[in-house]
C-alpha cells in the first residue's frame, strides 16, 4: 500500500517536472509483461520485442552503474536476456516480470563478481560519466554539478546500497521486491536503501553548500 502510494507520488512528480521515469513503462504493466512473456513462450517473437523495448534501457543503466564498467555491463546485459530467453519454456507468471528480470540480473552480477575478483576498484565509468565534452567547469550549472556529485557519490556507495538504490530508481521495485531480488529481508533492504539515499543527499547538499 505504502509502496503504491510512493509510486503514485513519484509518477506525479515526474509528470509535473516534465521528465519521464525510466521505469515508468514497467509500472502497472505487470500483467502485460507476463502475458508478453507467455506469448513469447508460444513462439511470438514480436511479443518479446515489445517486452524487451520496455525494459532494456532501465536494465542497461542498472547494470552500467552496478558494474561501473561498460563492457562488463554489456556482457552481463546480454547474459541476462539470454537467460530470460532460455527460461521461457519454464516461465510461470507467479511474480512480477520486473522482479524476475532484475533477480536474474542481480544473480548474473553476483556471479560476475565472484568470477572476476578484479571487479573491485574497476571504475572505468567514472571518467566517462563525469566528463562533459565541450563544457568548461565554470560554465556548469548548479544542476549539472548536482548530477556530477550524485554520480560520484553513487559510484562510491557499497555494492549492496547501490544495488538497492538502483533497483528502486530504475526498476521501481518496492522494498519487498528489492528484498526478494537481493535475497535479503525487508528490513535489510529498507536499511540499505535509507543509507544510500542519505549518503547521496548529503553528497548533493555538500556540493551545493561548498560555493
Amino acid at each position: 500500500m505504502a509502496a503504491s502510494a510512493e509510486s503514485v507520488t513519484r509518477s506525479a512528480t515526474a509528470l509535473c517536472s516534465g521528465t519521464t521515469l525510466p521505469y515508468a513503462p514497467a509500472m502497472g504493466h505487470t500483467p502485460e509483461d507476463s502475458a508478453l512473456m507467455l506469448r513469447y513462450k508460444d513462439g511470438d517473437v514480436a511479443a518479446f520485442e515489445t517486452l524487451y523495448r520496455r525494459h532494456n534501457d532501465p536494465l542497461y543503466r542498472y547494470l552500467l552503474r552496478l558494474c561501473r564498467h561498460r563492457d562488463t555491463a554489456e556482457d552481463i546485459f546480454q547474459d541476462v536476456w539470454g537467460k530470460i530467453v532460455k527460461s521461457r519454456a519454464s516461465y510461470r507468471p507467479t511474480a512480477k516480470f520486473t522482479t524476475f528480470l532484475y533477480r536474474v540480473a542481480h544473480n548474473c552480477f553476483i556471479d560476475h563478481v565472484r568470477r572476476n575478483k578484479r571487479h573491485a576498484g574497476n571504475t572505468e565509468l567514472d571518467a566517462e560519466l563525469h566528463s562533459h565534452p565541450g563544457e568548461q567547469p565554470d560554465t556548469l550549472t548548479e544542476r549539472s554539478l548536482a548530477k556530477e556529485r550524485l554520480s560520484r557519490a553513487l559510484l562510491d556507495l557499497p555494492d549492496e546500497q547501490r544495488d538497492a538504490f538502483l533497483l528502486r530508481e530504475e526498476a521501481g521495485l518496492s522494498l519487498d521486491e528489492i528484498a526478494a531480488v537481493t535475497g535479503s529481508n525487508r528490513e535489510t533492504a529498507k536499511s540499505r536503501l535509507r543509507y544510500a539515499v542519505n549518503k547521496l543527499r548529503v553528497a548533493i547538499d555538500e556540493q551545493t553548500e561548498r560555493p
Binding site: 524487451y52 534501457d57 554489456e74 546485459f77 530467453v85
Partner: protein, 237 residues
Amino acid sequence: MSNERKNRENDPLVADTYTALAQERAPDRLNKRVLRMAAREARTPYSRARAWMRPAAWAATIGLSLAIVLELTRLPQPEQDAVSMDAFTPKDMAVLREADERARAQSGAKQVPATPSLTPRSDALVAPDEEVSAGRVNADPSVPARSEKVDQDRAGGLSSRRPAAEPVLGTASLAATAEKKAAESGFTCTETARESAESWMACIKQLRKNGQQDLADSEYGEFQRIFPNFADIDADK
C-alpha cells in the same frame, strides 16, 4: 520519526537528480544482438513443435474417444429374448401356451396329432414356424415322410435350426422361444406332448426313466397345476 525515515528512503531531490543523470540507453548493436538471439531461440524445433503439439494432442484424444465409443457399439448385444424368457414363471408359460394355441386356432391350422416325444431336448427346441415350414401344419398327418424329416431336423439340435425364421410369427414365436428357454431351464416336454394329459404324463415318465428326476419333478408340478384331477400312481415316484 517514521515520516522522516520514509522521506529519507525516498528523497525527491535525489530521485529527480538521478533521473536527470541517468539518460543512457542500451546501444543499438546490443539491442539487435539480443533480439536476434531471441528470434533464433524462438525458431528452435521445440518451439515449432509446440505450435502443433497441442492441437495434435486434442485431435488424438478426440479420435481415440470416438474409436472407443464405436468399438463399444459394435460389441455383440446380449440376447434380449434370453433375458426376458429367463424371468418367465410356469404361470407365464401357461399363458404363452394359451396365446399360442389361440393363434393357431385363428389361423385354422391343423395340429399334428400329439405324440409324446422321447427326445425332450430336440422336441422342446422346435418352433411353430418350423412346423409350418416343414409342412406339418397344413399337411396330412397321415403322411409320415415329412413328419420324419422334421423329426430328423429336430434331432439336429440348435445347429440345424434357422434362426432367421424365429421372430416372424409374433406371439407364436414368443411362445416357441419360451418353450426353448423352458427346455433349457428344465421344462423339457414339448407343446405337443403337453396337449393331452396322457402324452404329457408319458413324457414325464420317460424323463424319470432317463434319470432326469429334477426335470421330471418340475414337469410334474406344472402338470398337476394344469391337470389337477389327473391321477397317475407312478408319476410322482
